[in-house]
């Protein structure tokens, strides 16, 4: 049975998440201890700043309480308190949760792409220390592939949801390649620094920083690999840069329409993007009327962010619909995989019957020579195979319709098969290939 025990930014406060989080270098050892526990056959630990989740495959009956106890013990947490803040998903619900997490649908920032890489790293760690097996391998690989397809189909992470990403989006709307663009940052406030940092991370050609206090500009320039210039050099810088980010604490505009108009004469028609995230505003609003100048203030950026949130919510609904198809696909695979012990038992039982019948007629068959006897045995084996064919196909078809459990129980009753023992569940399918056949 697949079980997921976890906590995230919605279910647990930050201090608990901090304490529950596994340091990266301790995960391998923890996985070793977890899979060493009775009833746990496969495991994976996902630990990020917003979630701690333990995914396991264990014996029928579920490993929820055991995994919760493991988490409490490993991280020194009170189990009762943990019970109030963790969620437990089993079987299909667990699979659905994994698919959603990999796609960023359970993230604090809906659709954020980093989680996909984090899930992939968590899986690679678990795989490296042989903590995963056929079921979790299939589940996580399928979830990662589905997340990639769904992101691409819905474009969920394309929409800007921060002031900084909205500024970058606007810049891309004006310019082909940000790597050839020069950015001027006016002021060294936190917001403008964040926006500049985001633009820098897109690989702009240069970042120039000006502040009334040159020392602050210099410190920030060092941190952002930019160049500091004295405040008096701003008019000259306006002539050569493509994007201006302003975020000073000035009470009156520091960039007048007239100053920008003068700079335009030297710019030879090159467009200029002004992103003003200061309150009160740093750029005179009517600067936007100048040809080739595009001025966006904090309210305009917020509108883009709000639109981005709306777009992501719409994309998330579509993503959930697409992921549900993938989850059903995984469930079908799982059902077919679960049939393996029933099919094996059925096959074994009928072949045994064939062998018994041959043995029963042993005295009469003794007159036959070796070749004739081999032919009779072959006929019996072929007959059993033929009898087995239709029930096996029907069983797999039932699994495709989601009726594997009911049909498996029916077969066990009809053919008098033993229920799957703990040993079978523990071993699981050896290696599962597409279509659920085991090798």
């Amino acid at each position: 049975m697949i079980t997921l025990v976890g906590m995230n930014h919605r279910s647990a406060p930050l201090d608990l998440r901090e304490r529950a989080c596994f340091p990266e270098d301790e995960i391998e050892a923890a996985l070793g201890r977890l899979t060493g526990r009775e009833g746990v056959h496969e495991a994976m630990i996902l630990a990020t700043c917003n979630r701690v989740e333990i995914l396991t495959r264990g014996d029928a009956g579920g490993a929820g309480p055991a995994v919760r106890a493991f988490l409490a013990q490993e991280r020194g947490l009170d189990e009762e308190m943990l019970e109030r803040h963790v969620y437990v998903y089993e079987e299909l619900a667990a699979a659905r949760h994994v698919f959603g997490v990999a796609c960023g649908l359970d993230s604090m920032i809906l659709g954020e792409p980093q989680i996909q890489g984090q899930v992939k790293r968590a899986y690679e760690t678990a795989r490296r220390c042989r903590a995963t097996g056929p079921v979790l391998d299939r589940l996580v690989q399928h979830a990662l592939a589905a997340a990639k397809r769904t992101r691409s189909a819905t474009g969920i992470s394309r929409h800007a949801v921060s002031i900084a990403s909205a500024a970058a989006k606007l810049a891309r709307s004006l310019f082909d390649d940000l790597r050839e663009r020069h950015v001027l940052l006016l002021g060294a406030g936190k917001m403008s620094e964040l926006a500049a940092r985001h633009l820098s991370s897109q690989g702009v050609a240069s970042l120039t920083i000006a502040n009334r206090t040159y020392a602050r500009a210099s410190t920030l320039a060092e941190a952002l690999s930019g160049v500091a210039i004295p405040w008096d050099d701003v008019p000259a810088a306006l002539e050569r840069v493509d994007i201006v980010l302003t975020g000073t604490a000035a009470a009156v505009p520091v960039l007048t329409r007239e100053a920008v108009r003068r700079a335009l004469q030297a710019r030879r028609g090159r467009p200029l993007l002004l992103v003003d995230i200061a309150v009160p505003r740093d750029v005179e609003p009517d600067t936007n009327t100048l040809e080739g100048v595009y001025l966006y203030d904090v309210d305009d950026l917020q509108d883009i962010v709000d639109e981005g949130h709306g777009e992501r919510r719409r994309a998330a609904e579509e993503a959930r619909r697409l992921l549900e198809v993938e989850v059903v696909g995984f469930d079908r695979w799982r059902q077919v995989a679960d049939l393996a012990p029933t099919i094996a038992a059925l096959r074994e039982q009928l072949h045994a019957m064939g062998r018994e019948e041959i043995a029963r007629f042993g005295s009469r068959l003794a007159r036959l020579d070796a070749a004739e006897r081999a032919t009779v045995e072959e006929v019996a084996r072929a007959l059993v195979q033929k009898i087995l064919h239709r029930p096996t196909v029907a069983l797999k078809a039932a699994a495709d319709r989601g009726e594997a459990v009911r049909f498996a129980a029916l077969y066990r009753e009809i053919f008098g098969l033993e229920p799957p023992g703990a040993g079978e569940e523990a071993a699981g399918p050896r290696r599962l290939i597409r279509g659920g056949k085991d090798e």
Partner: protein, 261 residues
Amino acid sequence: MTQALLPVALALHAAGAAVSFYGELRKRPGWARGGALVLSAAFVLELALAALLGASESAFPLRSGGEYLWTLGCFVLALHLVLVLGRGLPGIALVLPIASAAMVFAATVVPSAQAGGAVAKSGWFVAHTVVATSGMAALAVAFAMSVLFLVKDRALKLKRSVRMLERFPSLETIDRVGFHAMLWGFSLLTLGIATGLAMQAELHRPLWGWSAKEIFPILAWLVFAFLLTARFSRGVSGRRSAVLAIAGFALGILTILGMPR
């Protein structure tokens, strides 16, 4: 045969333009690709029709206003397909297929009196019509990019929805493609005017006759000459450049008024 194939070509062109427009407007890549494929089929058929017309009448199929519009529509469609299929340029499907469809549809309603035999057999006539029509096709691309520029510039100024902005390439791309199209169009138009003068001289006709097909190409040439000079000398681009390019193309297309009808 040409009469039978004509409605098919027109229907394909109209359907391709409509599907491409819808695909671009609603950001449906499948529709946009399908539209481009239908337009490709329309282009092949229209070119074949022009060739069939030339073969059946043993004459170069650019002798009348109708034939000129038909060929221009084909050339514009060809450039559109190059930009969309070759360069993956978004947004252009909102303008060029419709412009080219308008040209080929107009070609079927313009009366088709043809240039006289002596004119049509001149080598200068072939050179002049092919070069001038190619130039106008390039200027049609400059026109389309100018329309896109004005729409996107306005959307950015009015701070319209980001979704709307994403439908078009960056302003820089629009400006660059439009500028290159303008350069090619202007060069070919210059060559077209020169070959037209050579053709008149060969036929012992006066070089200037104050007809629409002389006045409008010269006016269009002057507009683009001014625009390119201003761009190179003072960096004039953006909205003013787009408006002038649209005006220049409109003047160029009025040449049709002076063609045999």
